[in-house]
Amino acid sequence: MAGLARPDAGRIRLGDDVWFDASRGVNRPPEERPVGYVFQDYALFPHLRVRANVAFGGNGRADDLLERFAIAHLARARPRDLSGGERQRVGLARALARDPDVLLLDEPLSALDAHTRSSVRLELREVLRELALPALLVTHDFEDAVVLADRIGVLLDGRLLQLGSAAELVDSPADPFVASLTGGNLLPGHARPVANGLTAVVLEAGGTVLSTEAGSGRVGVVVQPWEVTIARTATSDESALNHLPGVVASLFPVGNRVRVRVGPLTAEVTAASADRLELAPGEPVVASFKATAARLVPLRD
């Protein structure tokens, strides 16, 4: 996008402004593209002070931007003396100095330690909302994408697997990679249609699962952890059709919840429930979920 690398084919344009067109030999150099680029490690110029960094692109807006990002007090500091969060703000301010039409952010949070990440992430979300500038953000962390983005595109091996809102990606993953990225369970198996418009999937890990989605051949059953209930005994006196007996393999507390691993499934229950049921590794339990919660994604053979 920024013009720092040259694609083999394709077209890049903003509105009617064509920046790159392989078929017509158009390739505008980076200095002529109206982009603001925030690099993964911020790439602040070490030989310049903060104010000089922000003013590098010219345009006389340096002081306003320093004010806006609350770093005016750091104007004479050197990049090496700044904290991660401060560097990010300088990087952002610098990228905006030329009044760009698009903001490009390359893994803007990966250079931060875990402690500062979540607060800086929320700050960044506010900034992006305020700026109301089209922004393209690259990240490996699905959670970052959920917090910061309006639409999420999942790329694997150079292919766009799915483009949609976070909810769409979680509810209807188009590909097993997307399913695992969003944190859902993925159970491979073999599907065939059965009575009542349902699909039965014989799981490779053992057992059979019913789904309201259509599918055949090799598929992955996608179930979100919070849709899996844990019980001591199986009941047929309820609407959920899928019951997978197993043994508790591990428990992982996350805040007021507990992630319980039973066989190939990870379930998320409240900590209170985990206590009440006296869940512990080795205990026999039944993991259940509804057929309506079982999504099917095609798997390669």
Binding site: A2, L4, P30, E31, R33, Y37, F39, P46, F56
Partner: protein, 273 residues
Amino acid sequence: MRRFAFTALLALALTVTAAFLLLPVLAIFLEVSPGRLLDQLGSEVALDAARVTLKTNAIALGLIVLFGTPSAYLLATRRFRGRALVVTLLELPLVLPPAVAGIGLLVAFGRQGLLGGTLDAAGVSVGFTQLAVVCAVTFVASPFYVRTAIAAFESVDETMFDAARTLGAGPARTFVRVALPLAGGGLSAGAAMAFARGLGEFGATIMFAGSLQGVTQTVSLAIYQEFDVNLDAALAISALLVLVSGAILLSVKVVSARAPSVWTSPPRFARSG
């Protein structure tokens, strides 16, 4: 082998090496009294030699930096076919015997040389003039600068250049505002080493420029001439050279120690040298 014995052997090797390298340098200062040394430095021969050396070396260094810096930048930042070959060619004078360099310069630029006719027609005669000294010094000293300069540019994180481009700086402005300042430490160190090498140049100079006092006789050539006529004079000039060389080496160390304030990432190409 017992630990103590091994360490003792290492220390012995170091002592012998250090003594061997230090003795000749010390001897220069100890052989004659300081008063006599200073006396000799004021002689015609010494002063002429100093003048010739300073003038020719300053010009040579100027040329080396002027042409060497952009060359090094190109080699450090672009990949092209034959790049390795070009770098090796530029390093050649490092391993070439100075006398061979001198002969080479003579047959290239001298009266009867390859370009001799052309230069003659332009009214320029190179052999045995101060211009020849500049040529000889430039020839042998440039690899010292260019190699270090390439390494200096390579050690700059290329994301810096990317950042500058996205901020509206074209390739030329990026070179001036980002590459030069960030590679500055390395470039200075390279220039200092090239200067030191140039000061000590003898073989190529004497073959191509001759040893005419006041015209082409540099400090090194003066030492050689005075050596069997007036040892004291030779010693005086040598002592001066030792002090100057020592000062240059020290300044390079100091600058290099300050240089790593630049954030670095692995260089794009293998380091050349």
